[in-house]
C-alpha cells in the first residue's frame, strides 16, 4: 500500500512541476508593455504625406495612438485577402467617437470610416481587410474631446485586392446578404441580459465584396466592383457603430465588437452595397429569461 503511494507520488511530482508555472502566470500569460511588444511598427513613407490631407484636417496634431488603444495587426499574413486587425481601447481614456482605417498602399487607401455610439463603451473592435501590396495599416481615432490619435502596423501581405473569389460566384451572389450574430460570453457566468453589462458579439455578413480587381476564371474578364459601402448596427434605437467605405473590407465581412447592453429587445443591422442593394436583419437579444 505504502509502496504504491510513493510510486504514485513519483509520477505526480514532474506533472506538478511542469504545470504549476502556467498557473502562477495566470491564463493570459506574460504581458509586456505595449512599446516592447510591437514587432512591426509602421514604416515611414511618402504615401502617407499625400494621404494625410484626405483624412486629417489641416493643423490637427496627431497624438500617439498607442496611449489610447492597443492596436494589433500581424507581421505577415497567410491570406492577404483576410488580414485581421484589432483595436482595444485602454481603460480610463477618452471616448472614441470615430476611427478611420487605412491601408496606405491599397489602390483605395481608406478602408472605412467607423462611427461609434456611446454604447460601444471602451472600444474593443476587430475586422479583416485586403492587402494589395506590403503596406502600413493605420487607424486614425478621433475622441469626444476633439483630439486625434494615430496608431499602425506594417503588414507583409500582397495580392489581396485581386485575390480569387473563394467560392463559386453564383453561390456567393445567391447567399449575399445573409447575416449571423453570435454572442461570446466572457463574463464568467454573469447575467448577460441586464442593462449595463458589457457584451461581446460577432457579426458576420455574407457578401463577396468584389473590388473590381478580380477576374472570372476562364474568361479573365474583370468582375465589376460590388461591396458593402455602408453599414449600420443599432441596439434598439441607439447606434453602436456604422461604417462608410468598404473597398478593402474582406469577403464575407466579419466584425467583432463589445458593447454596453441597454436591455433593448433587438439588434438591427442594415447594410447597403454599391449596387444599391439593402440587406437588413433584426436579431432578437435580451429575450431569454
Amino acid at each position: 500500500m505504502f509502496r504504491k503511494l510513493t510510486i504514485a507520488a513519483l509520477f505526480a511530482v514532474p506533472f506538478v512541476m511542469t504545470t504549476s508555472p502556467v498557473h502562477a502566470d495566470g491564463p493570459k500569460g506574460i504581458s509586456l508593455p505595449s512599446h516592447m511588444a510591437i514587432a512591426n511598427p509602421m514604416i515611414k513613407g511618402e504615401t502617407w504625406d499625400f494621404l494625410r490631407d484626405d483624412v486629417v484636417e489641416d493643423g490637427i496634431a496627431l497624438l500617439d495612438g498607442e496611449k489610447l488603444m492597443a492596436f494589433d495587426a500581424p507581421v505577415s499574413a497567410f491570406d492577404s485577402a483576410t488580414v485581421p486587425f484589432s483595436i482595444k481601447q485602454r481603460p480610463g481614456t477618452e471616448r472614441i467617437r470615430k476611427i478611420t482605417v487605412l491601408v496606405d498602399e491599397n489602390p483605395v487607401p481608406v478602408v472605412g470610416e467607423f462611427m461609434f455610439g456611446p454604447l460601444m463603451g471602451d472600444i474593443d473592435f476587430e475586422s479583416r481587410v485586403r492587402f494589395d501590396i506590403y503596406s502600413n495599416l493605420r487607424v486614425v481615432a478621433e475622441t469626444e474631446q476633439g483630439r486625434t490619435f494615430m496608431a499602425g502596423r506594417f503588414v507583409q501581405a500582397a495580392g489581396g485586392c485581386s485575390a480569387a473569389v473563394t467560392r463559386d460566384i453564383d453561390v456567393a451572389l445567391a447567399t449575399m446578404g445573409k447575416m449571423k450574430l453570435r454572442h461570446i460570453d466572457l463574463s464568467g457566468g454573469k447575467d448577460q441580459n441586464q442593462s449595463g453589462v458589457i457584451r461581446h458579439a460577432q457579426l458576420m455578413i455574407r457578401h463577396p465584396m468584389f473590388t473590381g480587381m478580380q477576374v472570372y476564371k476562364g474568361t479573365l474578364n474583370h468582375i465589376d466592383p460590388r461591396f458593402i459601402e455602408n453599414l449600420e448596427v443599432k441596439i434598439g434605437d441607439e447606434l453602436l457603430f456604422s461604417m462608410d467605405g468598404g473597398f478593402s473590407i474582406s469577403e464575407n465581412p466579419s466584425f467583432r465588437f463589445s458593447y454596453v447592453n441597454n436591455g433593448a429587445q433587438f439588434m438591427h443591422v442594415r447594410a447597403v452595397d454599391t449596387d444599391g442593394a439593402v440587406f437588413e436583419k433584426s436579431f432578437p437579444i435580451n429575450q431569454g429569461a
Binding site: 511618402e46 483605395v108 494589395d132 473590381g212 465589376d224 459601402e229
Partner: protein
Amino acid sequence: MRDVRVVLLICLFGFVLPAIASDRPDGYRTHEYDAPVPDEAPGAITVSDETTYALWRTGRVVIIDVMPDIKKPKGLPKNAKWKGRTRISIPGALWWPDVGFGELSSALETKFKADLDRVTGNNKKAPLLFLCRMSCWMSWNASKRAASYGYETVFWYPSGSTGWEFWDYPTQRLKRDNKP
C-alpha cells in the same frame, strides 16, 4: 561520351540562341515582363546608375518612368477615392504607366507620340531616358519604341528604380503624367 555531350550542347544552343535573339530586333516583349533583360535596347544607349545620376543632375534629360499602374475598375462609387499604385522613383521623372507594354492600341500610340512631342518641344534630338525597375522589359520596349519614332538620343536605364534606390539617390512619389 564527352563528344556526344558537346554536340548536344551545340544543338541546344543552336536552337535556343536564335529563339532569344528573335525577341530582340523585331517586335516588342509582349509577356513575362519581369524577366532578365539583354544589355541593349535597339536604338538606345544603355546607361548605368552613375551615368543616370549624372544625366539627372544636368536637369536637361526628360526622364520617363514606364512602370505600370493598376487599372481603375469601372463602376467604383465616387467616394471610394482611387489612388492607384504608389510610384516612388527619380525626382522630376514623368510617369507614363502604359507605354511599356508590348502592344499599344492605336489611340495610346498616338498619345505616346503626342506626349513625346510635347515634352521634347518637337525636338527629335532632345535626350530621353526610360526606366522601370530591375529586370523589367517595359523600359526596354519604351526605349526601342521611342527610338523607332526617330528620337536620336534615347537612354535606357535597365536597373531602374531598383538601382536608383540601392545607391540612396533622392526619390520622389510620382504622379501620373499621361492621363488618358
